[in-house]
Structure formats: structure tokens, C-alpha cells
């Protein structure tokens, strides 16, 4: 490359790198997140079905007491490795309201695969009043709605500790290293041994629980990730070949110019 080209190229390079530099200075005083190795990381990453199923179990047995997962249909659970029969069985353990029937009455019936996972509270106000005025957010998009979502949820769930000396806390607040502002109105939801992993013998530790539920919530927010990445490989490969051919054709066309 000639010196003449060097300066503009350098200027562009500096310009391109500059904004990436200390861009993470705005975490609001909270600690840097704990980083896990996730099977879904990277361009070929996939979900770990066993972890997703354990995560669903944790959601159902723990988080569902307070948090909805309202954008997920039972039928979507196919994506975490359940077959139709299993999904029907899971759905039938829930009751949903349907109607009106021919008499104009609303009625309860067991849920079907085509239903959304029912929410624990009929509306936000009910959810707030049951949680000392704090609203437990819907979890279906939580990992997208937070920066570095999977690691954030993992960190949050493992980040509860005693409040530092001298900090004023109300009865219903809990100290969390990773929550912005540190005072969170969610009681520490997980403790070791709380959910049985007897089915597959995974360790019943806080870290394992946090990892599985974060994995599951990442799937819930981004159910098409595997398809997206698989399509991406094909598209990029195709474009690479196409670009190669076009470069050849372009060179050939231009070769006769003088």
C-alpha cells in the first residue's frame, strides 16, 4: 500500500476502533458480571436440551410463583426436546379460562399445547400487590432486555449477599451485587437442594440451578437461535462462493482494458 493511501486508511481505522474502547463504563456502579461458558455461545453454538429441561423445571417450581412467561406456548416446548405426548401431559397440569361457551359462560379447562403458559397473576396490579409493590417482570424476553442477558441472570441469581454495614434497607429489599442500585425486591429465589434433579443426577447446587434457568430463559427469549445460526452458515458460505465468482468475473471483464 502506498503512503498516500495509508493516512485515510489509518484515519478510518482509528475512527472505527474509537467507539469500541471504554464503552462499558456505564454499568451504574454494579460489579462486572460473572461470565459462564454457554453451549449457545459462538457462531456454531447450540442449546443444551438437558439443561433447558432442567431450566423449565426450575421455572415451573420456583420462578412461576411470581413471574409470568407469557410469550411462550406449550407447543414451543418442542424446542427444548419434548415430544407431543409429553407436551400434552405438561399442558394438562395447568388450567386456563376459556369461553364464552354457547350459554355465554366463561369456563375452566385443562390447558392444551396451543395455549400460552398461564401467568401466576391475572394482571400487573395483582402481581405487585402480592410482591410488596414490586412488579416481577415477565421473563420471556428477560435475557434480551438486559445487556449480556444470560450472564446477567446467572449473576443476579448467585449475587445475593448480606447488605454492607450501615446501608439502610427496607424489610422487603435484598442486597444483590449485580442488580443496578443493589436493592432488589425479589427475595433470593434459589437455594441448594431446592429442586430435585433426581432424573438426570446433575448437581443440585445454586450455580447449577442458576445456569439451567438462565439457559432456559435464553431459549425462551430467542427460540430460533439454532435455526438462525444454521441458516447463517449456509448464507455466508453461499455469499463467499458468490463473491469469489464475481471477483473472477470482474477481473476477467477488466483484463481487456488498457
Amino acid at each position: 500500500m502506498k503512503a498516500r493511501h495509508l493516512i485515510p486508511v489509518l484515519a478510518i481505522a482509528v475512527g472505527a476502533i474509537l467507539p469500541l474502547a471504554p464503552a462499558s463504563a456505564n454499568s451504574g456502579g454494579a460489579e462486572p458480571l460473572v461470565h459462564q461458558d454457554w453451549s449457545f455461545d459462538g457462531p456454531f453454538g447450540t442449546y443444551d436440551k438437558a439443561s433447558l429441561q432442567r431450566g423449565l423445571k426450575i421455572y415451573r417450581e420456583v420462578c412461576a410463583g411470581c413471574h409470568s412467561l407469557k410469550r411462550v406456548y406449550f407447543r414451543n416446548l418442542e424446542g427444548i426436546g419434548y415430544n407431543e405426548e409429553q407436551i400434552k401431559a405438561i399442558a394438562s397440569q395447568y388450567t386456563v379460562q376459556d369461553g364464552p361457551n354457547d350459554e355465554g359462560e366463561m369456563f375452566d379447562r385443562p390447558a392444551k399445547p396451543s395455549d400460552y403458559i398461564p401467568s401466576p397473576f391475572p394482571n400487573d396490579n395483582a402481581a405487585k400487590s402480592a410482591n410488596n409493590g414490586a412488579l416481577p417482570p415477565d421473563l420471556s424476553l428477560i435475557t434480551k432486555a438486559r445487556e449480556d442477558g444470560a450472564n446477567y441472570v446467572f449473576s443476579l441469581l448467585t449475587g445475593f449477599e448480606a447488605a454492607p454495614h450501615g446501608v439502610e434497607m427496607s424489610e422487603t429489599q435484598h442486597w444483590n451485587k449485580y442488580f443496578p442500585g443493589h436493592k432488589i425486591s425479589m427475595p433470593p429465589p434459589l437455594s441448594p437442594g431446592q429442586v430435585s434433579y433426581a432424573d438426570d443426577g446433575s448437581p443440585e447446587t445454586l450455580e447449577q440451578y442458576a445456569k439451567d434457568i438462565s439457559h432456559f430463559l435464553t431459549w425462551a427469549a430467542d427460540p430460533y437461535m439454532e435455526e438462525r445460526k444454521r441458516t447463517g452458515v449456509k448464507v455466508i458460505l453461499f455469499l463467499l462462493v458468490f463473491a469469489g465468482i464475481m471477483l473472477g468475473l470482474k477481473k476477467k471483464t477488466w483484463a481487456d482494458l488498457h
Binding site: R4, I7, P8, A11, I12, V14, G15, A16, L18, P19, A21, A23, A25, N26, G28, P43, R71, N76, P137, L141, K144, A145, R146, E147, G149, P180, A221, P223, Y224, R228, K229, T231, G232, V235, I236, L239, L240, F242, A243, M246, L247, L249, K250, T253, W254, L257, H258
Partner: protein, 491 residues
Amino acid sequence: MGNHPREQFDNPVVEWVDSRLPIFTILNKEYGVFPTPKNFNYFWNFGAIAMFMLVTMIVTGIILAMHYTANVNLAFDSVERIMRDVNGGWLLRYIHMNGASFFFIAVYIHIFRGMYYGSYKRPRELLWILGMVIFLLMMATAFIGYVLPWGQMSYWGATVITNLFSAIPYVGEHIVTLMWGGFAVDNPTLTRFFALHYLLPFVIFAVVFLHIWALHVTGSNNPLGIDVKGPQDTIPFNPYYTMKDFFGLIVFVMIYCMFIFYMPDALGHSDNYIPANPLSTPAHIVPEWYFLPFYAMLRAITFNMNVYMLAGLALLAVVLVEFVWRHKPKYLNAPIGFLIFAAGGALALFGFLADMNQDWEIPMSAAEVAPVPAKLGGVLTMFGSIAMLFIMPWLDTHPIRSARFRPLYKATFLLLFVLFVALGYIGSQPADANVAGIPLSVFGLALTGYYFGFFLVILPLLSRFEKGRKLPLSIHEAVLAKKQQFQGVSA
């Protein structure tokens, strides 16, 4: 059109149509044999790439619109249903979402190219202005589009930006009410934004048509910035540049696809996956990355412009016009000019200090009586920064176009580019951020100063005093010389 002699086509269907409506003749003239300078580099690909992005946005946008619902209670859910329940919906939305960013990337490079090689100069001023109109319309379209998914950033971004207009004296409040369709950002805002978001891309399309029409009247500029002197300087657009554009486009699309498939949310803000909530303000409201440099200029004006400051600035403007813009001062001589300059500078500084120290008891310096309060100052600065681009052809009247032959222009312009990106970084940070104890807005103000200084002072001065390097005699000769140089090296 159509009255010119027409060549016959061999294909009978084509000939039948063309003899009635000479569309193929025009296509051939404008895109087939169109004589194009033969020395383009890859910067010349970005016009075609921008066109591709516009079409991509319109096609994906129309399909999204079939599934989208413009209602505050349903918009967020409808976008999530596109992501989850519509076949291929996630792909469609990611193409559109990242497409806005890549459209801007293409257009920013396209504008950079134009500034570096002097494409805005005579005889291409109108072509340049049409391009700037497209840029403005794109900004409006993208801003409005970002509101549609009705997430937290949509809502609060819309609130902050529409509120800016209230700074305009007398009519500001009315404009804001009109944009909102009420007294806050609400359902009427969303529905009118959707209607406009559907409309504006087609307006852009029409302006693009004019832009290309103007281009085909003047012909393209080229990296040497010298005029085409004859047929030996040009080659037909097809197949040479169709092939080259195609190749460049595919490389660009490949990078675009890496974002779509591997980091689709990297360019967006995570808060926009939280449904809009008028009762909860996000900790840190930021616009999309492509607005950040302008946003930083908006926020750089943290002071009110009181009467002292405005009087000082007016005096400085007199000096600017007389001694920088005019080739020879008309009304003033140098000593008087210097006096006015000193007085203007002192007054402006005094006004600034008086605003910073509101407890000084100086008549007419209070924030409440400042003719240009900080908010209006910010808005004027932001729109002014774009106005600079519009009038650039008249600020830079240097006869040499390409920066290759203007070392001073090149250095000051590339510095402008780096500082513009730095402004983008400043725009991305919280308003109260600081570096080494100095508020970022101070850096923002300094860089804004350079931005305006570049256009209003440096360009006119360089137009008068920069000597520039010797230009090659013709494109053809320069290309031959380069070839021989390469052969010399490889032999």
C-alpha cells in the same frame, strides 16, 4: 425523452415495447453504454449499495407492515409475534432492523467519499443537495421507525426528540402537539408515525430518482477529481461497473448477514425489549448509533446564549464574513477588523461567564431572559451541523476537487472525520459522564467547535490559500502512469 433517434432492438418484443415507450433505449443509454470514468475505486460502490439497502428496507418493511399493529397496547406484542409466530418473521425483522444500520453505514461512506474527493463541487451542487435531502429523510424515517416496536427506548427516544421541537420560539409547542396528536407521546403519535414511516421511504425513492437523474446530467466524479476530457477517459458502465458493483455489493451483504445471523441485537439497545412504560424512565436514554454524533452536538450546548454572547457572536460573524469569506474586505480595514474581533470575542466570553455564574448581578444576563436558551441553542447547533453539509459547495470553492491533491484539506478533513466519530462516542455516554474529572460535554463542545470551524473558517480559508499539488493532465494518462509504475515494480 423519446424524440431522439432510436436504435432498433433485435428481440421483437423488446422492439415492440421500445418503439412505443423507449424504456429500453433509456436503460441502455443510462446503464448500458453510459460513459463512466475508468479510474473509480471501491468507494464508488456505495451508491449502488445504498440503493440496494433502500429496496431491501421497502420490501421487508411492507411485509412487516402486514403483521404489525400500530396501537400502543398491541404494537410490542405484534412485533414479538412477528419474531415468534410468523414464518421466517425473525429473519424479516432482523433484516429490517439491521438494515437500517447498514443503510446508514453505506450512506455515511457514500457521503465521506463525496467529501474526500470533492464530489459536491461545481457542477454537482444540486446532486449533492439532493443527496443531503435523502440523508435528512432517512434520519426522519429511521427515527420514526424506531418508535414503532414501542419498547422503552422507542417511547423515551420519541419523547426526548419530539420535545426538542418545543424549543422553537412561538410555534414550537404547536409543532410538538401536532407531532404527538395530543399532549404526550401516545396512541395518536404511534399511528401517525406508522403512516409516515410507510410513506417516507417512497418519498426517498423519488428523491433518489432525481439524485440519479442529476448524476446522469453531470456524469460521475472520480478519485482524481478532474473532468472527463474525452472517450479515452471513460468506459461503458456495463459490464465494467456492473461487475464491480456486484462484487462490492456481495461483500457488503456478507458483513450485513454476519450481523443478521450472528449478532442481530448488537447494534440495538437491550431496553427496547422492555415494553414501553410511561411511568418508568430508563436510566440512560440513547438514540440509535447513527444519530450519536449529532446527539452529542445537541447536548454540547449546556449554556444559555444571553444578549452579551449573541452580540459577541454577531461581531465575530462580521469579521468572518469580511475577512474570511470575502476575498477582499469591502467595508473594513485590518485594524478595525481586529478591534471588532477582539471586542466580539471578549463579549461572547463575558456572556458565557455571566451565564455560568448566575449570581453575578449583571442586567440582561439571567437565564430567563436569554434569547437563545440552552435547549434552543442545542437544537440550532444540531440542525446547523447538517446545514453545514448542505452549503458545503459554497464554503469550499477551491478549484481542485480531490483531497489527493490538497494536503491541507485532506489533513483537516480526516481530522474532522475522526472527531466526528469521537462525538459519536460522547453521544453514547450518559450526560453527566466525565473523563479525568472533566465533563464529557466540554469535549463535546470543543469537538463541535472544530466541526463548525472546519466548515465556516477552514474551508473558506483553504479555498483561498491552499496551493494544492499539480493535477494529472487526464484520467487516461494518470491510469497509464500508474500501470507503468506497477509494471516497473514487478519487472
